[in-house]
Structures are given as C-alpha cells and as structure tokens.
C-alpha cells in the first residue's frame, strides 16, 4: 500500500514497529514506533504522557516529510 500510494505521487511516511518489514515492502520514509499492538501509544503511561509520546512520534513523521531522501531512510 505504501508503495502504490507513493507511486501516485503522494509522499508517504510509514510509521511502524517492525522496520525490517517496512524496508522489505519498499517504504522510503520510515518512522519506528513503540510496539506492534500500540504503535503510537503506550498503555503503561498516563493519558497525558501518552499524548505527548504520540505527539513526538508524529513530529518525527513531519520531519520525515520535510526531509528530501534519495533512498529508503529510517528516521529514528
């Protein structure tokens, strides 16, 4: 899906936990996330802390959008 959407001319940031799979499927901008069942959250935190965590992860995605890349890149 990442590849076909990007092929249509839409820049895609793939946010996922198992980044080797993301590399294999051909995502170009990859942001690693927390865990498989809750990539953008952590149920061990308070609601506010979790929001903060998610906000920071999405900020990384925004940074990835702004960064020109030539090849598959993981934005740690």
């Amino acid at each position: 899906m990442v590849k076909e959407i990007e092929r249509a001319g839409v820049t895609v940031v793939h946010m996922c936990t198992v980044t080797p799979i993301s590399m294999t499927v051909g995502a170009n901008r990859i942001v690693p996330t927390i865990a498989i069942p809750h990539p953008l959250g952590n149920p061990a935190l308070t609601h506010e802390e979790e929001f903060e965590l998610r906000y920071k992860l999405v900020e990384k995605a925004l940074k990835a959008f702004e960064t020109p890349v030539d090849d598959q890149t993981i934005f740690d």
Binding site: G9, M15, C16, G26, P39, G41
Partner: protein, 348 residues
C-alpha cells in the same frame, strides 16, 4: 543413534495462546511440541526433535537482539545436529522470527538449519538468500505438505549430503547457481519451450527475470503548514461496529471513513477489526494506531494545513500482496485527484 533436532516455534503453535500471549518470552521444553510431532513422523526414526524453543511473535520482533541471543543459547545448549524453525506459513512476525533465528543459527552456531513459510511472508524476501526456506502454503493446513520436505532437507543437511536444486528440494530459490550438464542441449530446450508457448501449453523458464519493484521516494514537503495530510492504516481501525465488515484476516476490501468531525478517537466510536494483534489497546483508544488527536492539535497550532476528511483502512493480516497493491492504487488515485501530497500510513 538418530540425529538431534531442535525446533523453534511461536506461542500459537505451542498452544500457549493467540495474540494475547504474543509477548511470551522464550522458553525451552524437552521433546517435540505441536508441529514438532509432524516433523518427528516425517523423520521416520532418522532424526528426532529433542527440544523445542518457544517464543511469542511480538516478543521476538519487539526485543529482536535480546530474544535472538536467548533463543540461540537455548538452541546451542540442547546440542542439536540440525535446527528447524516453523514453518510460519503466512504469519508475518513469525516468518521474520523464523528467518532471524535460522540465519543466526547458521552464522553464529555454524549449524545446518531449515525453515519454511509462504512466499508472500515478509520473512521470505528477507531471508531466502541466507537460509534454506521451504515454500509452504499460506495456512497451517499446508503442514502435511511442508513437514516431509522440511524433514528431508534437514536430514540431508545434518548428514552433509549434497543438496539438490531448489525445484527438486522444495526450497525457495536462493540465487546460488551450480554448473551441471542437462540431458538436452540449450537449442533443443529453447525450441521446445517456444513450441509449448505457441501452443498455449505450460512451460517453465530457465531464467526468471528478477522483479525489483521499487518506487522512488516522493518529493519532500516544504510547506507543511499549508499541506493537508491523509491518514491510512493497515492496523484495521474502523468505526465502532465495523460497518463494512472488513475481515479480521485476509481482508478482501479497504474502508474509507469520515473523520472530519472527530477531534479524538475513543472507545465509544472506533475500534480495530484486525485479528493479527492483541486488540485491547487499539479498542481502548484507536489514536494509538491512527493518531487523529495529535494531528488535530498540530492543525490548530498551524504546523499542518489539515487532515484529509476521510481515512483509509484495511487489515494487514495474511492479506495477499495483490490485494494490498489494489487498495493502495485506489487510495493513491483518490488522493492524487484530490491534490493531496502527503500521507501517514501506520502499521501494527
């Protein structure tokens, strides 16, 4: 004395549990467990599963280095002649775990190893050039076919016997070429192939063209403050009740749902349809998979232009690559036609 085999399997095949037990830490058990019994039958007394290492799929993938080290030590301590991993069929995380363990057994323990999985399992592309992977069907119903092939290859490897070509042994082509003499010369084979092709009969190419399907990275977005971002997920987030009945595995469709009126996703209005991970956390708060709440905040702060009014979703669990490609094309087309330049795609 029969050959000693150590077998690696996941929590599901060890009958410990499904997704709620996917965070199960590595454990060693004496003897065969689950699919190890089918392997033992296929070994016909020449080899025997002396021990089984079990690890939860999420645990393995989320703690890759630590899990690999622990699993490797358990395998090594059991002193195997050969190691078998899986088969993983079309279970993605399990396939990656089997491939990772198999490659480590080969490289770090210098022991022969065989694994098995379906050709579309992401673990196949990652590891088929590194270890022998028997090509299996896409579900556990393929165990009856897979066990004899894996057992036969494991015995040959343990005995140091010559391994035949991929088509003969049933493993995925690994890019290695071996010189040999064909019974018929090339020109004869080529003409026969051409005649079959012209007659519409089946024929097998001797040199399949590699498919490197890569898409060049999209352009960087320079004015995010005026850019509308689309949200897409393979994590199965749907409006509560899953109105279009997106399947929990092998999804036959994707959904497109209005989020223009949502500031925040909650248990009252959204949930996941995905059957391949523990749904508790996503059902409690779907923002953990589809970050609508923080994007709304960023929209108010002027960091982004806005969120595309619809999000797109499917269940990436045993879903055929051809289906995912089709959904991606349809989503890509709508976004392009709407002038959308940026999408965040989340996966579980």
């Amino acid at each position: 004395m029969s050959l000693r085999v150590v077998h690696y399997i996941n929590q599901f095949f060890a009958q410990i549990g499904g997704e709620e037990k996917a965070d199960y830490a590595p454990e060693y058990r004496e003897g065969a467990v689950g699919p190890g019994l089918a392997l033992n039958a296929a070994f016909k007394g020449e080899a025997e599963v002396v021990g089984t290492v079990i690890c939860g799929d999420s645990y393995f993938n989320e703690n890759l280095d630590a899990a690999k080290a622990t699993v490797l030590k358990m395998i090594s301590d059991a002193k195997p002649d050969v190691v078998v991993c899986g088969p993983a069929f079309n279970a993605g995380r399990y396939g990656v775990a089997c491939g990772t363990v198999a490659a480590a057994v080969k490289d770090e323990l210098n022991l022969p190893v065989v694994t098995g999985m379906y050709e579309e399992n992401p673990g196949a592309d990652m590891f088929k050039n590194k270890v022998y992977i028997i090509a299996t069907k896409n579900s556990a119903a393929g165990m009856r076919d897979a066990a004899p092939k894996m057992a036969s290859l494991a015995i040959k490897l343990a005995k140091g016997e010559k391994i035949g070509a991929s088509a003969e042994e049933g493993y995925m082509p690994n890019g290695l070429r071996v010189n040999f003499f064909e019974a018929e010369r090339g020109s004869t084979r080529a003409v026969k192939m051409l005649l079959n092709k012209l007659a519409g009969k089946p024929y097998t190419t001797e040199f399949p063209m590699p498919s490197f399907d890569r898409v060049a990275p999209g352009a960087a977005i320079t004015d995010l403050a005026h850019t509308t971002i689309a949200l897409v997920t393979s994590g199965g987030i749907v409006p509560k009740g899953n109105p279009d009945h997106i399947e929990s595995s092998s999804a036959s469709k994707f959904g497109r749902y209005d989020i223009s009126s949502f500031e925040d996703l909650t248990a009252a209005d959204h949930e996941t349809a995905h059957g391949g991970y523990d749904p508790v956390y996503a059902n409690e708060d779907a923002d953990r998979v589809l970050p609508v709440d923080v994007l709304r905040k960023m929209e108010k702060e002027g960091k982004i232009g806005g969120i595309y009014p619809y999000f797109f979703t499917t269940v990436g669990n045993g879903t055929a690559v051809a289906s995912a490609k089709k959904y991606g094309e349809a989503i890509g087309k709508e976004l392009r036609d709407a002038g959308i330049k940026a999408a965040i795609l989340t996966s579980t």
